[in-house]
Structure formats: structure tokens, C-alpha cells
């Protein structure tokens, strides 16, 4: 391989693909480049992106998590029901509560993965069913609509960084949730890259036995990883419903596949030990952009899943080929 070192990084490849895709979409329909569209594209990154940060961490540690959408909805719905029942308001407390519920559920994953030593996919399939079943079977199935949503949450999620008026007098704003996403991404990046705990995650995913012999605390690392994924999911779950003004406990079903796809797209290895926050953010952006741009490209939205599926297959096939060439 003679490609320059920068190009050998999968982040660079994804970035180039994104640029090419943007140019192509823009060529098909110049409306893609309108500020309103770009802002809404960025807005769509927030929820998927925050959840992807957790999945990334789990994947670097050599695990996988398909339970986080269920955890997100459980944390969100429990928090909202508590707010409605007690007439509680505020922003910080509800978000802290949703995060805490997510962390607690994530700890359940960690328990089964670490202490019981069961395959993470099977464990998280089980805890996902557990959480959804509990949520829908015990807590409730009814939507919380805009008229009952706590106004402070809606107000918070509606904050905008900058706003302008587009052609035809339409309001165009950039959501202030974007810096929250970017801040969390930076935090996870620093954590993974510059703390011993983060390096423990890489060590665990690289070689579990060597990590144990080197003296890393594997239990602590595993609980951290799944706790982080759960906590981020809980936070993102509440943020999601605050942004769309509707809390539907059935929501986000199947989202785990998209997020895992985005993380893999961003260069993380499903076998653990590899992955980066920047790559994951690019992977999320890629997937969200494709999803959002089908309409702009005059493609029926029923094709959305087919397109996403094809992208996942293509990306994983390319990664598999690259790894094989590397190994051979």
C-alpha cells in the first residue's frame, strides 16, 4: 500500500465519501445546500450521535449493545411520568434522572457480560426485551403529547444558536442541542484517549487476558463501558422526545441497527480494540445524511431501509476485504 498515512485512516475515507455524496446530492437537487436543510441535517445528528458515542465505547471494549434504544425509552418515559405525576419541572433534574436510569440499566448489562461471562449480543437482546417489556407492560403504552409535555423541556430543546429567516419568510434556526452533542463527543474523546480508564477500554478490547495480567480492573472497565452507553442513551432518549414534543414509548425500535451501522461505518471494529470518536461522528453524519436526503433526491422514503441496508453491507464488505488484505 502506497497511500499516504492520512488516507489509510478509515476516518479520511469516510470523510471523502461524505464530501462526494454531498456533491452528488447537491447536483441532483441544489436545495440540499439551502441553509434550512443543512441545519435540519445537523439537528438530526444529535440523538443518533449521542447514542453512537456509547455504542462506540462498548464496541472498542470488544462488546456490542443492542439494548440502548429500549433503555433510552424506558429512562425517558419513567422520567416524564414522574414529572407529570408529581408536577415536577426543571431541566437539569429530569435529564440527570434519565441519565441515572440509563446508567442503572447499563450496569445490568455489565453484570451479565462481566460476571456471568455471556456473549454481549445475547445479553443485550435479553435486557432490551426486559426493559421494553417492563416499560410497555407495566408503566404504560400511551403517548405523552405536546399538550402534556413539560414546557420547560420543550423550551430547553427548542433553544437555538442562531436564527434567520429563509426565502418565503420561513424560520431557519440551528439547534443549540448541537453543541451539547459536540461537547459530549469531546468528553468521550478525551476520556478514551487521555485517561487510563479509556486506555483500559482499548486494552480490554485488544486482548482481555493481557489486560488482566497488566493489572487493569476489568470489572470496573466493563461497568464503565455499559454504564456510559446506558447513561448516554437515557440522556438522549429524554432529549429526543423534548425535541420532537412527543413521548411515544414505542419509539426508536430498530434504531440499534442504524447506530451500530454508523459506528462500524466510522471505522470501529466489531472485534474490539479499534475505533474513534471522530470516525463515529462521521459515520453518523453519513447515515443521517443519506436518510434525510432521499426525499431531496426524489426517492420514495419506503426505500430508506433498503438504502441503509445496502450501505451497511457495502461498508462492512469493504472493511472485511481491507482486513483480509492486511492479514494476507
Amino acid at each position: 500500500m502506497t497511500a499516504p498515512a492520512v488516507l489509510r485512516r478509515s476516518e479520511a475515507v469516510v470523510f471523502l465519501v461524505i464530501v462526494a455524496a454531498m456533491l452528488a446530492i447537491g447536483a441532483i437537487n441544489p436545495a440540499f445546500w439551502q441553509l434550512g436543510n443543512l441545519f435540519s441535517l445537523l439537528r438530526s445528528n444529535v440523538i443518533t450521535g449521542i447514542m453512537a458515542l456509547g455504542v462506540l465505547t462498548v464496541m472498542i471494549s470488544g462488546g456490542i449493545d443492542v439494548s440502548f434504544p429500549a433503555f433510552a425509552m424506558t429512562a425517558m418515559y419513567l422520567t416524564l411520568r414522574w414529572m407529570l405525576a408529581g408536577g415536577h419541572g426543571g431541566v437539569a433534574v429530569p435529564f440527570a434522572m434519565a441519565t441515572a436510569i440509563g446508567i442503572a440499566l447499563g450496569a445490568l448489562n455489565a453484570f451479565f457480560v462481566h460476571s456471568v461471562r455471556m456473549i454481549p449480543l445475547i445479553v443485550t437482546l435479553g435486557t432490551a426485551a426486559l426493559a421494553r417489556g417492563f416499560l410497555l407492560g407495566v408503566v404504560g403504552t400511551s403517548n405523552i403529547n405536546i399538550d402534556r409535555m413539560p414546557p420547560q423541556l420543550i423550551g430547553f430543546a427548542g433553544t437555538e444558536l442562531l436564527a434567520t429567516t429563509g426565502p418565503g419568510g420561513a424560520h431557519i434556526g440551528l439547534t443549540a442541542m448541537l453543541p451539547i452533542y459536540l461537547g459530549l463527543a469531546l468528553a468521550v474523546h478525551l476520556l478514551l484517549r487521555h485517561t487510563m480508564l479509556g486506555r483500559a477500554v482499548f486494552a480490554l478490547g485488544g486482548d482481555r487476558e493481557a489486560a488482566r495480567r497488566a493489572g487493569f480492573d476489568l470489572a470496573r472497565t466493563t461497568y464503565f463501558v455499559y454504564g456510559l452507553a446506558g447513561g448516554l442513551a437515557g440522556f438522549a432518549g429524554l432529549l429526543h422526545v423534548s425535541m420532537i414534543w412527543l413521548a411515544n414509548p414505542h419509539d426508536l425500535a430498530g434504531m440499534e441497527l442504524d447506530v451500530i451501522a454508523a459506528v462500524v461505518l466510522g471505522g470501529a471494529s466489531i472485534f474490539g480494540g479499534r475505533g474513534s470518536v471522530v470516525g463515529t461522528m462521521l459515520g453518523v453524519f453519513m447515515l443521517v445524511m443519506v436518510n434525510n436526503s432521499l426525499i431531496i433526491m426524489h426517492i420514495s422514503t419506503t426505500w430508506q431501509r433498503v438504502v441503509v441496508g445496502v450501505i451497511i453491507i457495502a461498508a462492512t464488505a469493504l472493511t472485511a476485504l481491507r482486513d483480509r488484505r492486511r492479514a494476507g
Binding site: R193, H194, T195, M196, L197, G198, R199, F202, A203, G205, G206, D207, E209, A210, A211, R213, A214, G215, F216, G273, R274
Partner: protein, 496 residues
């Protein structure tokens, strides 16, 4: 002055099996000591006891003359004991710098990673070893020798007084071994003792000052290296003299079983010619990385892009896959029995039948009665020690496991048997049994055998001629009177 480490009458049993019995051993500060022994002789148990991983049932351990009660891994490390295991326990996905610095960062109880400090610490560790290593390379990209250097550098970072190296030369080329020995002598010069655990006599004689030989958990011999020669070590390790009756092939040269012309795999080995007659046992000697395994793999269809011609019993065949090789009557007993040869949790019967399922299929269905009978017959004829062929193969001893792999190929009616390390990990008693079986197969059934081995005596004893490979070329052939252990060792020593 008392020795740095002393073991007195140490004994250890596992589930009633005596792994170590009355073993005494003293290692002086800054000494180069060799621990020799066959697999299963108790070497690894002894390492575990010294490094505090397991506790002995009897005897005592003294550091600097002080008895240690309940030595734990942490206390052994605090005493300066560092073990470099064969797998190195490194992180392939992390850089050299991080692999070196992680343990000390961890030991210092740091929470944040200062990358500049990591690099500085790593650079110092590498410099102390006097070697060149790219600190920013991922460890998984390094060759085995490079990874070993990282492991050594890491071990020395923590104020080591005794470095234990478990089979450190197994995967190294001759030149790399010399580099390693130079480093080991440097380390010794700094007053750090090194315990070399090995079964390679030549290297032990070359590097060490004292040798302790274990056999069946007991000290079979011990003393200054100057008092030993290869034969003496072998005698101590195996407890028997090497049989002086080499394998004599009596057959007539006719149409060769295997006739190879200009066989080559670019980048692995250069064109070779090779012919093996039915009933011949031909040895291939050579260092690791000499291309000997690749020759075997290309005959077995695992290098489908090979060049040159392969003829079996006079008929030219193109062997582009393993099934095609098997169809040609070629069988391969791999080097790494546990991962390449066996299906550990499956039954002995299934392991035996794995290569010949097609033969026992009638009208799409397996003939279980016939297949079962064939498996049982093979268990009997190879004297595999088991009450029933339905037991998982992992319950067998190393020697019996190797018989199972051998039996698998006999069931395919192989005509050419390629063996890579036929008795690696096999205890002494079974070893000669397997040799007898192989010789009988060649003699009585006219099987042609290619035997690749690190074990010089094994080749000399069982082959009628020996080819020497080096750097992808056939460089020499020994046969008849010229084929002696000394001559073979001499040839191998000359390569570098």
C-alpha cells in the same frame, strides 16, 4: 552471599498428579541459568511457583536467603521477578510506546494519560535495551522478534532482578536469536539474573552458565553448563539414550510417490525439486522461517498460487485446494495440533472421521454403522488410550491426540504423509511410540513420509535422508553414513 533465589525441596501436586517432586534450584544474582525439560516435565509449574501464581505443597522459596511465606504474584514482582510468557501478553491494537508505558502508568496509579510522558518513558526503556523500535507502530504490525523486544523492554522497566523467559527462541530466526542473546548478556551485565526455559539444547549450551534439567517433575541433572554436552542433556531430558538404529529404506527407486519440479511460492520459497519414493521417510530440517512449512502447505493445497509441477505416482496434479490435495492422497499433520489439528470438544470418532465423511456417505446419508466401526478400528490399531471413541478428544493426552490426527489421515487412505513437528508437545514415552507407528506405516504400507522437525535426533533417528532448507532454498541433503546428529547440528549452526 546467599543466591538471589533459592528453591528447597519444592513439591506440587494437581488433582493427585505429581507435577513437581523435591525440586531444588538456586539462581545467583546476575546468573544465566537454563531450565530444560520436555513438555510436561514440570517447567511451567516451576515458573508459576517462582512468579507466585501457584503455591507449592512442600518445600520453601527463599529470596536472598529469606524464606517467603505465601508468595503472591504481586510480591514476586516486588521482589523483582518478571516473566515473559510465550504469547508476550501485549496489546496488538496499541502502539509500542503505549504497550511499554501502560504498566508503569497503571502502577503509579495515574488517572490521566500524558502522551509526552508515555513516549519519554517508552523511549528510555527502548534505549536501555540498546535496540531500535518504532514507538508509534502498532504492536500487531511488528514481527515476532520485535514483539519480544517490546516484552523484554517492558519487563525491565520495573526494576527486574530476575527475568524468566519461556521458550524465547521458538519463533525466531537464527539472526534474531543472536540479537536476543546479545541483549540477554547485556541484561546480565547489569546484575539481572535470567532464567531461560527451553528444550533446545544447542541454545542452552550457547547461552547459559548453569543448567537444570527437569524430567517428570524431578531434577534429572544439574550443574555448570561446561559439564554438559548435547547428548548428556538429551539423556537427562528423555531418560533414555537415543536409539542408534536409523531408519533404513530398503526399497527400489521406481516411480516416485511424490515428484516435485520447480515448486515455488514467490516470497516464501524459491523453486525446489524433490522426489519421495513409497516407503521413504524424508526429513526437512531448517530454522523457523526457512520456508519448510510453506513447502508443506503448498503440497497440501494451501498456497493455491504456487508455481511448478507436482506429480503423484507419476501423474501430474494441480493442487489448488485442501480437498484436491486429499483427493491426491496427500495428508498434512499441522504444527499447532490444538488449533489446527483438533476439534477439541468433539468426539474422538468425529475427529477421526473429519477428513473422510464423504467416503462413508451412501445416497446422501452417512453410514453411521460403517463410519463408527472404522473409527473404532482406528482407535484400536493406533492404540489410542480411551474407553470409547465417543469421548471428547480434549480428554486425551498429547500423544494420543496426535494419534487421532494421524488416524484421520489413515482413514482417507493417504499415500503421502506430511508431518510438521510430529511429536511437539508429546511426552517421551508416546514419542517413541509415534515414531514406531510412522516407521511401520512407511515400511509395511508403503506410505511416503515428509517429516519437518526442529528436533534433530528425531529426524536422524527416523528418516532415511534429510533435506536442509534455509531462506526459502534447499541448501543441503544428508543421507547414509553422513547423516548423524552432529552433522545435522553442524549444518544448522552454519546457517544464519
Amino acid at each position: 552471599m546467599p543466591p538471589f533465589l533459592e528453591l528447597r525441596h519444592v513439591g506440587k501436586s494437581f488433582a493427585g498428579v505429581r507435577a513437581l517432586d523435591n525440586v531444588s534450584l538456586a539462581i545467583d544474582a546476575g546468573a544465566l541459568h537454563c531450565l530444560a525439560g520436555e513438555n510436561g516435565s514440570g517447567k511451567s509449574t516451576l515458573i508459576k511457583i517462582i512468579s507466585g501464581v501457584t503455591q507449592p505443597d512442600q518445600g520453601e522459596i527463599l529470596f536472598g536467603g529469606q524464606p517467603q511465606r505465601a508468595l503472591s504474584p504481586a510480591r514476586a514482582i516486588a521482589r523483582g521477578v518478571q516473566v515473559i510468557f510465550q504469547d508476550f501478553a501485549l496489546f496488538g491494537n496499541l502502539t509500542v510506546a503505549e504497550n511499554l508505558a501502560l504498566s508503569s502508568e497503571l502502577r503509579d496509579g495515574r488517572r490521566l494519560v500524558n502522551w509526552r510522558r508515555v513516549r519519554a518513558v517508552a523511549a528510555e526503556a527502548v534505549a536501555r535495551l540498546g535496540v531500535e523500535l518504532d514507538l508509534d507502530a502498532d504492536v500487531e504490525r511488528l514481527p515476532t522478534s520485535g514483539r519480544q523486544l517490546v516484552a523484554i523492554a517492558r519487563a525491565l522497566m520495573s526494576d527486574a532482578r530476575l527475568l524468566i523467559m519461556d521458550e524465547p527462541t521458538t519463533a525466531l530466526t537464527r539472526r534474531e536469536v543472536e540479537t536476543l542473546f546479545r541483549i540477554v548478556r547485556d541484561i546480565r551485565a547489569r546484575g539481572i539474573a535470567v532464567l531461560f526455559v527451553s528444550h533446545k539444547m544447542r541454545e542452552m549450551l550457547e547461552i547459559s552458565e548453569r543448567i537444570t534439567v527437569l524430567r517428570n517433575g524431578r531434577v534429572a541433572a544439574a550443574g555448570a553448563t561446561a559439564d554438559f554436552d548435547e547428548a548428556a542433556i538429551t539423556r537427562a531430558m528423555t531418560g533414555q539414550e537415543i536409539a542408534a538404529t536409523p531408519y533404513r529404506w530398503q526399497g527400489q527407486a521406481g516411480v516416485p510417490r511424490l515428484d516435485v519440479r520447480g515448486l515455488a511460492v514467490p516470497g516464501r520459497f524459491a523453486p525446489i525439486d524433490l522426489a519421495v519414493q513409497p516407503g521413504e521417510i524424508v526429513g526437512i530440517a531448517g530454522l523457523l522461517g526457512s520456508g519448510r512449512t510453506d513447502v508443506a502447505l503448498s503440497l497440501f493445497g494451501m498456497h493455491p498460487s504456487y508455481q511448478g509441477r507436482i506429480a503423484i505416482d507419476g501423474a501430474e496434479r494441480r493442487i489448488a485446494s485442501v480437498p484436491e490435495a486429499i483427493a491426491c492422497g496427500i495428508a498434512y499433520v499441522p504444527e499447532d495440533r490444538l488449533t489446527e489439528g483438533l476439534f477439541a470438544t468433539q468426539s474422538i470418532a468425529r475427529n477421526l472421521l473429519a477428513g473422510s465423511l464423504g467416503r462413508f456417505t451412501r445416497a446422501g446419508l452417512l453410514d453411521l454403522v460403517r463410519a463408527g466401526a472404522a473409527a473404532r478400528a482406528m482407535v484400536q490399531s493406533l492404540q489410542i488410550a480411551t474407553p470409547t471413541a465417543e469421548r471428547p478428544v480434549m480428554e486425551l493426552s498429547g500423544g494420543n491426540q496426535q494419534r487421532v490426527v494421524l488416524g484421520r489421515w489413515l482413514l482417507t487412505e493417504a499415500r503421502l504423509l506430511v508431518l510438521n513437528g510430529p511429536t511437539v508437545g508429546v511426552d517421551v514415552g508416546s514419542k517413541s511410540g509415534i515414531h514406531r507407528t510412522l516407521r511401520a506405516l512407511a515400511m509395511e504400507r508403503g506410505l511416503a513420509i515428509l517429516m519437518i522437525s526442529d528436533d534433530g535426533p528425531e529426524l536422524v533417528q527416523n528418516c532415511n535422508r534429510i533435506l536442509v532448507m534455509h531462506r526459502g532454498r534447499m541448501v543441503d541433503e544428508l543421507a547414509g553414513e553422513a547423516m548423524t546428529e552432529a552433522a545435522l547440528a553442524e549444518r544448522l549452526r552454519g546457517l544464519s
